[in-house]
Symmetry: C2
Subunit: 242 residues, 2 copies
């Protein structure tokens, strides 16, 4: 929590003042969010309506960033223990949306996920190429590249319509120097997210890469085949890709 969570004025004893767990509703939303992150609740369509404010506070009040920082610290600890071979084949796989770059500003307009996904609106947002970097993941990304790992980005975004803007957006936000960015092409059409990403990772491994780490905000990024040495789940209580 940011310092704002410290209560200075007793009249402010609202949910807002006391953090995110001072009433029964927030208690429910904490349970729901934990279940999402532990992959206990799957293929959910929207955030429960009663949790809109909870998710807004979580995503914009500092806790999300702190959660990411702790996971990044753990990834770096793991990374520091890896002896790379020096043959240029030691790789990490990262997802793009809400892993490298953030769509929170878009989801704010979708009541932080209480409204269902709407493809055209999302594509219009993505075409602006204004997704900001998630600072913790950018920190990881830079350390990976400095340390000699090859970073491979895999996204479900459509290559034909969003390829250019995605490359631009990533570059503007500091994600440069990656080895490969794989986007959806007609060849992957109709595949589930987990199948598509497993297929891409299979090709990566068949190409001789060793996938040490695999980072994503969706469990469909992290489950399936060729998942890598360790997987890391970036929190995302706003939407679920199944």
């Amino acid at each position: 929590m940011k310092p704002a969570a410290r209560v200075k004025n007793p009249t402010m004893l609202s949910t807002e003042a006391a953090g995110e767990c001072d009433n029964d509703n927030d208690s429910y939303c904490l349970s729901w969010r934990l279940a999402v992150e532990a992959n206990n609740v799957k293929a959910w369509r929207t955030v429960p309506a009663r949790c809109e404010m909870h998710v807004e506070r979580y995503m914009t009040g500092g806790q999300f960033e702190q959660d990411v920082e702790l996971v990044v610290d753990e990834m770096l600890r793991y990374m520091d223990g890896i002896m790379i071979a020096g043959d240029g084949m030691d790789a990490w796989v990262l997802d793009v949306d809400d892993t490298c770059i953030s769509n929170v500003a878009y989801y704010k307009e979708r009541r932080f996920g209480c409204d269902p996904f709407e493809g055209e609106g999302f594509r219009a947002w993505a075409r602006k190429a204004e997704c900001p970097a998630i600072p913790g993941v950018l920190r990881l990304y830079k350390r990976l590249i400095e340390s000699g790992f090859k970073v491979i980005l895999i996204t479900g975004r459509d290559k034909e319509t969003l390829g250019h803007v995605t490359i631009l957006n990533l570059h503007d936000q500091g994600f440069s120097g990656y080895q490969q960015l794989t986007m959806r092409t007609p060849a992957y059409k109709g595949q589930s997210a987990a199948a598509y990403k497993s297929n891409v990772r299979r090709q990566i491994v068949e190409g001789g890469y060793r996938i040490w780490g695999n980072v994503g905000d969706q469990w469909t990024d992290l489950l399936g085949e060729y998942v890598g040495g360790r997987t890391f789940k970036i929190p995302n209580p706003m939407y679920c890709v199944s």
Copy 2:
């Protein structure tokens, strides 16, 4: 949160009064606990010392039970959608310690996991056969049996020294009518928890069972082979079995 989390007296604006996230330390501990539940932090030895009070409040203040209830509701929703074959081979696998029955009373004496695991003390506690049922999981268990599923319990507890007391403890707490309780025997000696449990599940599947659900408080219960149709992680921020 229980009603106690509602602040009645402004002088009580402590961590205790305002729930579990009203200061920087609790913010860190929320991040740590989330990372544990999402399997981002692995093979950790003890709870961070600064999180002792946070974990105590989580385990004893009502949020843990609420988190379990939400996961159980999700399991029952999944269970209700399964068409069982009626051949007696539709199974669920459940772990025992801190899945069916609780060791919180023991871990209270170990500073809620801030002290490292100590085998002899734990065995002395287990021999009392006084672990209470976790209410939500008992609710699941009864519904599974009523619905015609075979419940198979797999525990890392040693059969020779703890077999009798474990059966007794489970029975006293309402866990009766299970199909099988598998405990560690010398045949499994030296195997990691994940390997041991995978081996047992392999035998179950080779015996013709279909494992629909797999429930445990440790990721080593849920990862590996023959994990079942869906896995469900019961929260446990007190210790990690690797």
